[in-house]
């Protein structure tokens, strides 16, 4: 039998190594797997390269991981937010480096990495500072940049429901980067508000098929970042 369910977030992240590249789903707080991130903080892995659209808010979730000094490089499109205080400090101090990637290029690079495409051409960022030094080529009289697919050792993903095969469905705009990151990581770990019996998810509506998922852990009542930040919570 196939059973990808593990019993705790601690068990789910136990083998993440120092120096790993970790993709973390979510756009702002929507889809952010806070409990998996907190388990990763407890676990202790450091010198991580983290791929996420943002850099977290307050001192919970991704921001807490950055604050704990575990992130040596952030790959993201928008490392600035109303309540994002942790990253700017560590970026200015030189502790955490930044690879800035346009949002759509970031998404497509992750998908390419998961789809076995080593590189593709995109019109985005041609003529801008983010296109400087990037190989350029003209197709049909328009200029494009060559960008590489992006893969990771681990992806941390938040779903609405999953089953023991690893099939996942999401909640509204919490979907964002997660299905792509699930494709691009060697080990994809999903926290789901409910782990349902096999067959309960309609095959027509599965968003991430189980082939992309390696571990599933139930987190029945995931925290909401905005509420935690508003309440002044700081992890750990």
């Amino acid at each position: 039998m196939i059973n990808k369910e593990v019993s705790s977030v601690a068990e789910a992240v136990a083998d993440i190594l120092d120096g790993a590249t970790v993709m973390i789903g979510g756009f702002g707080e929507a889809g952010s797997p806070i409990e998996l991130i907190h388990a990763l903080i407890d676990q202790g892995a450091t010198n991580l390269t983290v791929v996420n659209n943002n850099t977290g808010t307050g001192e919970v979730g991704l921001a807490a991981l950055i604050k704990a000094g575990r992130v040596s490089t952030m790959v993201c499109s928008y490392p600035r937010s109303a309540n994002s205080k942790v990253f700017p400090e560590l970026y200015r101090s030189g502790h955490t480096a930044l690879e800035l990637v346009p949002q759509g290029t970031l998404a497509e690079r992750i998908r390419a990495g998961g789809a076995g495409i080593p590189a593709f051409y995109t019109p985005t960022a041609v003529g801008t500072p983010l296109g400087e030094g990037v190989e350029r080529r003209t197709f049909d009289d328009r200029d494009y940049l060559l960008v590489r697919g992006l893969t990771a050792d681990v992806a941390l993903i938040k779903g609405r429901a999953a089953d023991r095969h690893g099939n996942v469905v999401y909640n509204k705009t919490a979907r964002n980067f997660s299905p792509l990151m699930a494709m691009a990581a060697k080990t994809t770990i999903v926290q789901a508000a409910s782990v349902v019996p096999i067959g309960e998810l309609d095959p027509e509506v599965v968003v991430t098929p189980g082939i992309f998922v390696h571990r599933v852990v139930a987190v029945p009542n995931p925290g909401h970042e905005a509420e935690l930040v508003a309440a002044g919570v700081s992890y750990p």
């Binding site: 490392p79 759509g104 985005t124 801008t128 509204k172 705009t173």
Partner: protein
């Protein structure tokens, strides 16, 4: 500005509105026109903010504010969302600007200040892919410096991408020859707009401008 821009949003358009003033365009689209709003974090058919207490923190727009889903909405992942953008499927995006050049170059993501945290989001994707790019901006900076210029001095978002600019003083198209005034705000003269613009304006308005 948002109200004037809204007049140019046609029935049936797929539209992406940038954070800030561009978002207000939605409130002014003339009655009888059905417009479908795209938010690049993963939805078509975005509706207004939820009634207090009814929102879902996982139903948000690109500005990370809670929104609603109109009937006929669809959720999708980021690669599909930016396929819509990059693939030229969106009709219009409305963005803010730091500077626009007379060739349509846009600078709106960075002032180039050395201590600023650079952050670009989806702006470069939008201007590279969306069919028509509208800019809404004050005509000058708070210090009175022109934002419509011969060449942008701030880091670029895209080259030759802006189609039309809505400022507090005028509506201006970017045409082959440069900035063409299409419309002046009430009580504003062509000359006074020219004075506040860092490049030569071409008259072209139907209102005599």
């Amino acid at each position: 500005m948002a109200q004037r821009c809204a007049l140019d949003i046609q029935n049936g358009s797929y539209v992406n509105l940038g954070i800030g003033i561009p978002e207000r365009v939605a409130a002014y689209v003339p009655q009888g026109r059905e417009v479908i709003y795209h938010t690049e974090n993963g939805m078509l058919g975005m509706g207004p903010p939820p009634e207090p207490g009814t929102g879902d923190p996982e139903l948000i727009n690109a500005g990370k504010q809670q929104v609603t889903a109109n009937p006929g909405a669809a959720y999708f992942h980021h690669a599909d969302s930016f396929a819509m953008i990059r693939g030229g499927h969106l009709d219009v995006c409305v963005l803010g600007a730091l500077q626009v050049s007379e060739r349509g170059d846009l600078a709106n993501w960075s002032t180039g200040a050395p201590d600023a945290i650079p952050a670009v989001g989806g702006a470069m994707d939008l201007v590279a892919g969306v069919k028509t790019v509208y800019v809404i901006t004050q005509h000058t900076t708070r210090d009175g410096e022109p934002k419509l210029v011969e060449s942008c001095t701030f880091p670029l978002t895209g080259l030759g991408v802006v189609d039309r600019i809505y400022t507090d003083l005028a509506v201006i198209d970017v045409v082959e020859a440069g900035f063409q005034v299409v419309e002046l705000s009430p009580g504003v003269s062509f000359e006074s707009v020219q004075e506040r613009t860092g490049a030569k304006l071409i008259p072209g308005g139907t209102d005599g401008s």
